[in-house]
């Protein structure tokens, strides 16, 4: 089914290396994946797995050490022309985890939402700008009277709506949402997720959804990439991954999700990932390989054979 989908963004052999005091740390190690138009792709993994680093490499906050990133076939990593740079900034927007920390607390909501429009002159006149702002405010369920207020006057959920409004007003095609709901309460979480889904339906947006809460990821995403220590361990469509996780790390991650049912949860056994004991890479080199069903797993040739057999059973 992937053949008839259009590739929007493609990450090829990406390495991100951080240098500090002469020490090198490879945060991202040879990561390649495609994002298809209109889909929601989730990046999951524990803290330190590199999921945020990948998101930040795409919007060029973190430079790529090796490899390249292509958007609609054109390279957007490394040095770009001024026009290209502006185009990419406008089309790829980001929503951050902590809405309190990502909004300028000295600016009114009107200014925060307008800032992108000002920077890119995306309005014909004052009237047009206000019309755009009012539409964005209305889309995220805030009221016109909120425009003159400051971020601290809002609740966490409302602030995240402001964060969404200011990215939506740029009319982006691709949104990177970095843990957009982790700081929110259960009931508000649902409202924000529904809002993101609504925009996707209405405008055909593509999302890269970075999260660690797998029960929410299961609900919102079409495909999932599992990261561990800067490498891709497994890629599959959401239900395929939840029903047939192959890599032991994915299994450990899925088995740790708490089930909101005391009868199941109190008896549940978790599966623990122990890379030292579970893999023997002394003779064979591991790599990401296709096991069918649009499902990629990281492993040595003999492991991949085992995974294939297990998947077909």
């Amino acid at each position: 089914m992937e053949e008839n989908k259009k590739v929007l963004l493609s990450v090829e052999n990406l390495d991100v290396v951080f240098k500090q005091n002469g020490n090198e740390f490879k945060a991202i190690d040879n990561v390649s994946f495609n994002v298809y138009e209109g889909e929601t792709l989730a990046l999951v993994g524990e803290s330190g797995s590199g999921k945020t680093t990948i998101g930040r490499a795409i919007v060029r906050i973190n430079p790529c050490t090796n490899g390249a990133i292509y958007y609609r076939g054109e390279k957007i990593s490394g040095k770009l022309s001024h026009e290209k740079d502006r185009e990419v900034v406008r089309k790829i927007q980001m929503i951050f985890q902590d809405p309190a920390a990502s909004l300028n607390e000295r600016a009114t909501i009107e200014y925060i939402i307008s800032e992108g429009l000002y920077n890119f002159h995306l309005y014909e006149n004052e009237e047009d700008r206000m019309a755009k702002i009012n539409r964005a405010i209305d889309d995220v369920g805030l009221l016109p009277e909120h425009l003159t207020r400051y971020p601290h006057e809002f609740s966490g959920g409302q602030r995240q709506r402001v964060g969404i409004a200011r990215s939506i007003v740029m009319e982006p095609e691709f949104i990177i949402a970095d843990e957009p709901i982790s700081a929110l309460d259960v009931s508000i979480r649902a409202q924000v997720l529904n809002l993101l889904k609504k925009f996707q339906r209405e405008r055909g947006l593509t999302y890269l959804f970075i999260a660690h809460d797998l029960s929410v990821v299961r609900f919102i995403s079409d495909r999932i990439i599992v990261l561990y220590k800067g490498r891709i361990m497994e890629v599959a469509e959401t239900e395929e991954l939840f029903h047939h996780p192959m890599h032991p790390y994915t299994r450990s991650l899925l088995s740790a999700i708490p089930i909101p049912d005391p009868l199941i949860e109190k008896k549940k056994k978790t599966f623990v990932y122990d890379p030292e004991k579970m893999h023997d890479y002394s003779k064979e080199e591991p790599a990401l390989a296709d096991i069918g069903h649009g499902h990629l797993v990281f492993g040595s040739p003999s492991e991949i054979e085992k995974y294939k057999a297990k998947r077909e059973r």
Binding site: E46, S47, S155, G156, D185, V186, S187, I188, R189, A190, Q191, L193, N194, K197, H212, D213, L214, S215, V216, R218, F219, F242, H243, P245, R251, S252, L253, L254, S255, A256, I257, P258, I259, P260, D261, P262, L263, I264, E265, K266, K268, K269, T270, F271, V272, Y273, R313
Partner: protein, 365 residues
Amino acid sequence: MSENAKRDVLLSLKDVEVKFNVRGRYLTAIRGVSLDIYDGESLAIVGESGSGKSVLTKTFSGMLDSNGTISAGSITLYDKALSDSEIDLTNLKKASEWQKIRGRRIATVFQDPMTSLNPILTIGKQMCMVIEKHQRCSGEEAKARAIDIMRKVGIDNPEKRFDDYPFMYSGGMRQRIVIAIALSCRPKILICDEPTTALDVTIQTQILDLIKELQRELDFTVVYITHDLGVVANVAERVAVLYAGQIVEIGTVEEIFFDPRHPYTWALLSSLPQLSVKGEDMYSIAGTPPSLYNKITGDAFAPRNKYAMAIDTVAEPPMFKVSETHYAKTWLLDPRAPKVEPPENIRNLHEKMLAGYVDYSEEDY
């Protein structure tokens, strides 16, 4: 839980009300809570932010912010090991009086282990400080005890890691140390305020298992504060649901998950992502909680409750008894109320969860 009939009451809150003075205006954060906490049990307090979960436990850990006061009610701690076997904690005013309780009888583990540890002191130093202060022992002995506890909470090679600083530990290891410090004085009650929210899921399970294991071994009571119903299902024997500063429903964990009676509990369960259907909107509770600056008449949840009746806007419902262990504060339980079934999506919750459950620890799933 029927075992509670045999267990002794350790802490008893009666009609507790907490007010905060916020720039001259009064906010009533806790509006008349009565709750018995039993010796050795695991109680979870759930609710959304601002419902008063943390404030409620701070009334008995002596950590209320300075602008907050317990304006009504009593909190009695029963403990035979104390010189007075019954102490009303609301009478404690001086810091020196609290020091006999806080840490020694009632200890707290907070959400973020980085902020509860001192970044410029070694782990060992911080542990010894607590042990020396509360157990009156010398340096060498305190160190031996600290290393013993570190081993107990699962720190490998404790002798070597004793002189490490907090930043050299991972998040999960830091939380283990915080738990070790909290337990070093053998408290009767351990309050865990969102103990795993800042941690990864795989680490979360380990920390919860550790608390449960230590509870079995050292026999203390745990009060969990959390908004994650998955964590509640894992750890709790009893659950209290808090809304706008009141307990709206309390019962055993099975009663709350499989036989909930309060519309707010229904709404909380309906918000579970596991119950959402892909392609449809996720359930969300309409509206926002009421402002606690104003006096609330009737049922605080009524404006957001589609099952609300005329009486809900006029009179506050009492606690209705459902079973020996199960109470709910809603007029729907009044004999005169029309019969209302819980929403379809949370009926047969266990069957629904079981249907979607895969045991990943088995080789064949």
